[in-house]
């Protein structure tokens, strides 16, 4: 097992006075998929958003403890959240392509981070990202068409292409398939498999079957705590905590 890409130790998150995340310790491995499962409102998405400091946009949110990327604390005052988010990308639950052309959608990230030295450079980056997201063949003839004109599954793959265009080392996915039909879901899961050969993927999911199919490590969240964290196989076949077992067998959540 490769060294941890992201490590969280004694992580606590407060929304105003509400203690949302309590003493969480997780390790995200590199070149693998980690799944966060748990019932609604247990804090999975909140914790996920801490990993790329998206919670900074919420005024009442405070994060305590340490979250490190490659050993460096991401909440250190010297860290620029904007640069961090180029290295830790995010895909959201509902596909949200920009109301611009497909090309501009994918090109936006590399452009603002100055990753392309010329127009042809930028075209290459965009093509690369669209290929890795397994959507190139479907859109290569209409890169100028608006991104919002695609189907749901295609839009989500476009959003994934947009996120990976900045060559992130980690990709955070917040229930990426919950708004999609089974076939699109299958395509995205294949995509996740492929991506995980090169980067770390963290996926929050409501579907235990999806977690079982896709991930190597799973963390079970319940009421803001990580109740159990370990190899996916172990969690699903031989959970140590009774709460984990209740959730997996469908008695809670």
């Amino acid at each position: 097992m490769s060294a941890s890409k992201i490590s969280a130790r004694a992580c606590n998150v407060f929304y105003g006075d509400t203690h949302a995340i309590k003493d969480v310790n997780v390790d995200i491995g590199s070149k693998s998929v980690t799944a966060f499962i748990g019932p609604s409102g247990c804090g999975k998405s909140t914790f996920l958003r801490c990993l790329n400091r998206m919670n900074d946009t919420i005024d009442t949110c405070r994060v305590q403890g340490s979250i490190t990327l490659d050993g460096e604390d991401i909440y250190d005052p010297r860290v620029d959240a904007v640069t961090l988010r180029a290295r830790v990308g995010m895909v959201f639950q509902k596909p949200n392509p920009f109301p611009k052309s497909i090309f501009d959608n994918v090109a936006y990230g590399p452009k603002i981070h100055g990753m392309a030295k010329s127009k042809s450079d930028l075209s290459d980056i965009v093509e690369n990202a669209l290929r890795r997201a397994a959507i190139w063949d479907e859109v290569k003839d209409r890169l100028d068409a608006p991104g919002t004109g695609l189907s749901g599954g295609q839009q989500q793959r476009l959003c994934i292409a947009r996120a990976i265009a900045t060559q992130p080392e980690v990709l955070l996915m917040d229930e990426p398939c919950s708004a999609l039909d089974p076939i699109a879901t299958f395509q995205i899961e294949e995509l996740i498999d492929e991506l995980a050969k090169n980067i770390s993927v963290v996926i929050v999911t409501h579907s235990m079957q999806q977690a079982a199919r896709v991930s190597q490590k799973t963390a079970f969240f319940h009421l803001g705590e990580v109740v159990e964290f370990g190899d996916t196989e172990d969690i699903f076949t031989n959970p140590s905590d009774p709460r984990t077992e209740s959730y997996i067998t469908g008695r809670i959540g």
Binding site: M54, R85, F98, G109, I112, T148
Partner: protein
């Protein structure tokens, strides 16, 4: 359980009552709409019937001999010498032309040529002089000229002045009206479209026939430009700050509440502010469209800020999240994504704010733009901004105050012009809003 014995089809009293109430409500609604439409029709009908006359004016065609002996005694065609001849010097030329007129058209009258010349507007002589000064080569020839007739004659052609009203009128006599009738029959006196109303300047009390709204329109235009240039950037910047960067504390709340309050402040208060700050402290020129524009900007700014905030709030947060997720900074997210999507809403709000500012008179009162006689049109951009001028609604108000009923017609004409602008601006705003709606 007991089973229902009444059929679904049976009428019950509740249903009847409900149906009657529905019908009553529909009738009230219809009556309200019809009342509104009726009032609107009355308004438009009154405005149009009273104001259309202002767009037509009566002209008398005279053949004027530009006698060299009167206009250019030296014969050098020296422009400075020619300019020295005042309008008094041109009077005899007009009298001679009037005499010629009587002969040519065989007018049967006891009046002398001088009395016929009095049918002309008092601006006739200066128009003639302007013509000669502009083109001295015409001296010595006979020129056919269309002169404005005075307001009473014009009123006769428009129905304001009648044979009955003439009895008490000192400005015109029944004999003059007889002559007028004959001139109309001869085709020398006609009523036609008056472009000078739209493009000319205001005139003195004694010459309503020469009064135009053009200069006032330029004043309004200059002010609108100032308002646009000042309120749009400042308003958008303020709303971006309040939306994205202001900390959520009581000070920010206070600012927001006060902006909403400012939008409701009576406009004359801004006029007083303009007088106190712009004129007394900053010593900006009085009656200048620049100052008027500054005052109107203060008045319009809260409206722009409020509509810009609303437009930006209507952009779905998912777009902002997506931009941030890809590593955009807050400023990049706002300028690359939120603003372009909010732009149509901001534009619509700006146009509506400008339309409101266009119709404001009270704030201009204290800075000197109401009651100013705009008799010369500005010629350069600098003049347009800094030379004293008036505004469309102020001009209308000014005309409505004057004694001569001919000015009353002009005021209505001005109202038509103002309404055309307002309707056009609001129509553009609505078109823009429809066109850009729901782009995502």
């Amino acid at each position: 359980m007991t089973s229902r014995t009444t059929s679904l089809f049976a009428a019950n009293p509740q249903m009847q009552r409900r149906k009657r109430a529905d019908r009553r409500f529909r009738i009230y609604g219809l009556a309200a709409i019809l009342t509104g439409i009726l009032l609107l029709a009355v308004l438009l009908g009154t405005v149009i019937s009273n104001g259309l006359g202002a767009f037509q004016q009566s002209y008398l065609t005279l053949e004027v001999e530009l006698l060299e002996s009167k206009l250019d005694k030296t014969g050098n065609r020296d422009i400075e010498e020619i300019k020295k001849v005042t309008t008094f010097g041109y009077d005899p030329l007009l009298t001679a032309a009037a005499e010629q007129l009587i002969e040519t058209h065989n007018i049967q009258t006891d009046l002398r040529a001088k009395d016929i010349a009095k049918l002309l507007s008092k601006s006739a002589v200066s128009d003639l002089r302007d013509f000669v000064v502009a083109d001295p080569t015409r001296i010595g020839s006979v020129v056919s000229f269309d002169f404005l007739v005075n307001a009473r004659v014009d009123g006769y052609l428009k129905g304001r002045v009648t044979r009955e009203s003439v009895a008490d009128d000192k400005m015109i006599s029944a004999e003059q009206l007889d002559a007028v009738d004959q001139l109309i029959a001869a085709g020398a006196l006609v009523k036609r479209f008056n472009a000078d109303f739209l493009f000319g300047s205001d005139a003195s009390d004694q010459r309503p026939e020469a009064a135009g709204i053009g200069t006032a329109m330029l004043g309004s235009l200059a002010m609108m430009l100032v308002v646009l240039v000042l309120t749009l950037p400042v308003g958008v910047a303020a709303s971006i700050y309040l939306e994205e960067f202001a900390p959520k504390n009581r000070l920010t709340d206070l600012i927001e509440v006060n902006i909403s309050n400012l939008a409701a402040v009576p406009s004359i208060v801004f006029g007083i502010l303009g007088l106190a700050v712009f004129i007394n402290v900053l010593h900006l020129p009085m009656s200048a469209p620049l100052v008027g524009g500054l005052v109107l900007s203060l008045m319009t700014l809260p409206t722009i800020i409020i509509s810009a905030r609303a437009a930006m709030k209507s952009v779905p947060p998912s777009i902002r999240d997506a931009a941030l997720g890809v590593g955009a900074s807050k400023m990049q997210a706002v300028f690359h994504h939120v603003l372009p999507l909010a732009a149509p809403g901001i534009l619509t709000g700006t146009i509506i704010g400008l339309a409101q500012a266009l119709g404001e008179t009270a704030p201009l009162l204290l800075i000197g733009m109401v009651g100013f006689i705009a008799s010369t049109a500005p010629e350069t951009v600098g003049e347009a901004l800094l030379a004293p001028n008036t505004a469309l609604p102020a001009q209308i108000f000014e005309w409505a105050k004057r004694a001569d009923p001919a000015f009353y017609e002009r005021a209505w004409g001005g109202i038509i012009v103002l309404l055309v602008f307002l309707v056009a601006m609001n129509a553009i705003a609505i078109l823009l809003r429809r066109r850009f709606e729901r782009r995502w």
